[in-house]
Symmetry: C2
Subunit: 439 residues, 2 copies
């Protein structure tokens, strides 16, 4: 018997992964070596590129994918699998190889984002967990990256925890930070992943007090004049006047969370300047998405806070990634490329070796995917796969808060390679084509 596992991820899994293993063990096919691949058949509609996120988080969750007594008891009591399979699961740990795109990497349709090489049973068990993590985090990162470029250098903060599941909120804060957001409201993302946190007060704080002035005085007394005062609970011009009267012209910022921001921001800037608060910044947080951010580019806004739209992938809350068997051994141990044949769900079989081809100006021109045992030795361009897990052990560089910092840095490098049209908000084709080449 195994000891109870505090944080096992093993049951975050579709039942059919277990029943497939059960049937394969009985048939003696569970140990066939296989290659599974996670990829998206397309980007979310009209997007020019995607941004991989979730990888570091995923590697940690795979390491916690173990069946303790509690998990085995549930499977036994519910007749999910038979006794031989329960014994096999009790000893399960992933011992295979995982390579894939670095977290923060730009990707395109059919980019082979994650490749899992292991026995069938070891690899198939991870399908649900891999897709849950990558689909959600990548959805958030793809939306967040567009918001960051729409903001043209002005800081964007993630504050959507309340608009997604309470644990997804932590993942969303992490993914948005990797994609270029500057901070999050989510404290757990700060503690677990080192994401900078921000936030001062809501309307409730103002309304708790007998006047707006009393509320502002309480906030400044505790958080200092450099704080951000929320000025739209009652009347904005009055709120701004009170804010500067209470905090002085050294007031850090005012926040606007309602109203017609396109006209309001200019008026507030004028009022702040007239009051001498020329260094006081204006931050806006009213149901923003990448289009609203772009529309505000002409106003004197200093920073943005984004909620619902970023944590729900701005209309695409799942990135549409799938996890498919692309190669396996046959009964004689020979490798066979495999692919489902249906017209609407086609898959490229075989082992993939993706390379981003870069022209002499440093701009990406194609996503070239070599299919075969290895990429040609003389292939130009930037190889896109790194080793993430070797014999079941994760590469430490991609884990924890350090992994987040690395991913954020890599996103900057990867996006800097993309052609200008990648950053258009309007719907269009992927910024570069994906090309398959047999080796």
């Amino acid at each position: 018997m195994n000891a109870p596992l505090a944080d096992s991820t093993a049951l975050l899994t579709d039942r059919y992964e277990l029943t497939m293993v059960d049937a394969a063990i009985r048939a003696g096919t569970h140990d066939r070596q296989t290659v599974f691949e996670a990829f998206g058949r397309s980007l979310p509609h009209g997007r020019r590129y995607g941004v991989v996120a979730g990888t570091g988080r995923l590697l940690e969750l795979i390491s916690a994918f173990r069946f303790g007594d509690a998990e085995l008891d549930y499977l036994r009591e519910n007749d999910v699998v038979g006794g031989a399979t329960l014994d096999w699961l009790a000893d399960y740990r992933f011992t295979g190889q995982i390579r894939g795109y670095r977290e923060g990497e730009a990707y395109f349709p059919d980019s082979p984002l994650l490749v899992v090489e292991s026995s069938f049973a070891e690899g198939v068990l991870l399908e649900t967990l891999i897709l849950s993590v990558l689909n959600y985090d990548t959805s958030v990162a793809g939306a967040a990256a567009r918001m960051v470029s729409a903001a043209r250098g002005r800081p964007v903060a993630e504050m959507g925890s309340r608009r997604t599941g309470e644990r997804s909120a932590v993942a969303a804060a992490r993914a948005a930070y990797i994609a270029g957001f500057g901070a999050t409201s989510n404290l757990e993302a700060g503690r677990t992943w080192g994401v900078p946190t921000m936030g001062t007060a809501a309307h409730a704080f103002t309304m708790l007090h007998d006047s707006e002035e009393e509320a502002f005085r309480a906030q400044v007394a505790t958080l200092g004049a450099g704080t951000t005062l929320l000025v739209d609970t009652y009347d904005v011009p009055e709120g701004v006047a009170t804010a500067v009267r209470v905090a002085g012209t050294g007031l850090g910022a005012v926040r606007l969370d309602s109203g017609d921001l396109l006209t309001l921001v200019g008026a507030v800037r004028q009022q702040l300047d007239d009051l001498g608060a020329t260094g006081t910044r204006i931050t806006v947080t009213n149901d923003l998405d990448e289009y609203a951010i772009a529309a505000l580019a002409a106003t004197p806004v200093d920073s943005f806070g984004v909620g619902t739209s970023v944590v729900t992938g701005s209309g695409h809350p799942a990135a549409g990634l799938v996890y498919k068997l692309v190669a396996r051994e046959d009964a004689e141990g020979r490798w066979v490329s495999v692919a489902k044949k249906s017209a609407d769900k086609a898959t490229h079989g075989g082992r993939k070796h993706p390379v981003r081809m870069i022209d002499s100006s440093g701009t990406a021109v194609t996503e070239t995917v070599f299919v075969g045992d290895a990429a040609p030795d003389d292939a130009p361009g930037r190889p896109l796969h790194v080793e993430l897990m070797a014999d079941g052990a994760a590469d430490e560089r991609y884990l924890g808060a350090a992994g987040v910092v690395a991913a954020r840095g890599h996103r900057e490098v990867s996006l800097a390679e993309l052609p200008d049209q990648a950053f258009r908000l309007a719907s269009g084709a992927p910024a570069i084509p994906t090309v398959f080449e047999a080796v």
Copy 2:
């Protein structure tokens, strides 16, 4: 010092909840008694009704909202709050009253879904957690209920774990079950919440084997002839013929996961009948939503599996619920109704007592919300609030697997009261109007 807490939910919180408490403690206003309310200003666009979900799960998470050493250390090291507030947080447990709609209840715009009565500091701290849980779970339940009615009595199973965050997947399975789904693929939802689980095999299992027949034989040998065989990996008519040849005419079901289901289902039914497999069911699982389910109503399909669309709320991945201060004590201990005044984010101040008015035929006619200290004694109709937490202790009836069963039953009762137009899929106005009445 507190002992470490294995599963504290305290940092699943926006930073500003903590800084507001910090400032209120210093100002001496943190202990003012308050009423916070969770509600939606509207339903997701065009929906006729919503279904409350997440409540039972939320009550358990609130009970785990405690600041242990790890949480306090993070807050101290990052200067989130001062020393007096850290001391206050170390002793924090919610001691107030929570009443609200039962889980599974239908709701409408401005329905006061959850009312939290406590000190300001105790109530404001829970804002993020309350909204994360209710917004996601209610989003899923609202979409799921429409799919169930579109299926007209045929079973619908949730299988979207891979298309939402790995922990949200568990919540989604639970919410869909409450809304009338019959089962889920998610094993953790089975273990934690008692939701029935289902699933047999994916395309990868067929492709692992050297022929479709070999794969089907392996599956039937382990799962029995009553299993569901996935017949569309290669060629559907051939897959169906092989399935019946391998499993016999007692084959439980065939599953179709691709192709034009509107024509395919009829052809497969004909083939099964011709082969003598008249009792073999047909289940379909190809990117379904409520509209696709309704369109398939005229085909001889027996059951549906739904993934992406249900776990992402079918276009509305957050239910749009907000949590607002609606009443508070002033410095003299007198109650004051409060509300933010902006035109685009109006809130009804005051304590609410919602009643569903029912006509003589048993059909709901209005959502009547009495505003004041209590509903009138002689108010007709069905009172919608129940006590969920008294002095910080949750009502056990709403917790765990038993709470899920109760919520599922209540959803059936609540939806049975709604007028027929509630179940139209087309966009329209809420099925009944929400009416406010001052007491």
